[in-house]
């Protein structure tokens, strides 16, 4: 495997996804409707990234005590909702996850 070629290819592919729209859209106005819709990008992307590993960790729907990701996520949601602290949510969520995995 030619590592330099691999890294160059992946770097190019990543830049193609990150840079062109930034350049193109940073000197023109988006249509108002589209612009307003962009406020939904962060919640939509985050939900789309995390729901599969929470509900279907092994590729199968897992609703029960044997799914540590689901249990720890419920605790993390509570912590986040009550404290609004991201750091506390991560630390407690991770701790619950690891303990849950060890004991169930």
């Amino acid at each position: 495997m030619n590592e330099a070629l691999l890294i160059a290819g992946m770097a190019a592919a990543t830049m193609v996804s990150r840079i062109p729209l930034l350049l193109w859209l940073s000197n023109r106005q988006l249509p108002q409707g589209l612009f307003a819709a962009l406020r939904y990008v962060p919640p939509a992307v985050l939900a789309a990234i995390i729901l599969p590993p929470i509900f279907t960790p092994g590729g199968q729907l897992a609703l029960g005590l044997h799914n540590p990701a689901l249990g720890a996520s419920l605790v993390a949601v509570l912590v986040s909702w009550r404290t609004r602290s991201l750091l506390l949510t991560i630390v407690i969520g991770m701790a619950v996850y690891l303990l849950w995995r060890a004991y169930f």
């Binding site: 691999l6 350049l23 859209l25 940073s26 106005q29 789309a48 986040s80 991560i90 969520g93 991770m94």
Partner: protein, 241 residues
Amino acid sequence: MHKEINSPRAALLAGMRDTVPLLVGAAPFGLIFGALALAAGMSPLGVAAMSAFVFAGSSQFIAAGLIAAGTPIAVIALTTLVVNLRHMLYSATLAPKLQGLPLRWLLPLGFWLTDESFVVAAKQFEETPHNPHNRWYLLGSEIAMYANWQLVTWIGIFAGSQIRDPQSWGLDFAMVVTFLGMLVPMLKDRPIWIAALVAGATALLAQGLPNQLGLMLAALLGVAAGALAERAWPLPKKEAA
């Protein structure tokens, strides 16, 4: 949230500070990547170089798996492109807030754009849309993420020679709980709830699609659902900007 961000320096530091919790969440991911890529047969220098030049966690992770499976370079690069398509949404979202910046700003801001910095900056830009130092805030967040990613990759490379089966440790859940902790405070009005629910449900149903295309589809449908819901439940008017 912050005292007045009234200088480039204050904005840079605020961006870094607001990113600290995300560094904690990203660290295990970088550690595992370092160890995993080494186990996949890459050289230590190659692993470090990938984090330095590609700087895209999930596609680096997937690439490590593909390398181990002997996948051709062209296929790995193409997979990277597809996995990273969501960054097009990010750059399109941030671009209107970075109007008129010269290339010497836009190129690094784009190169360093990750999930985490995007979410942190999008939140800040919504709260203070007219702050002239917003670009410094994004830059601060990105530099913090980049430095952290290099550091944890190196630690992973170093530790990787000692650890067997790094993935079995369960550290990959750190990313899930990080993003969860970012999502919950966002759920402030009904259209946002609907956007998140539609996106999440679609992602669950579309998991079978290759290369995280389901993720892209889910994000687009979620955004569309949120925009539609806004017509039924209009947002409270902010004072005219």
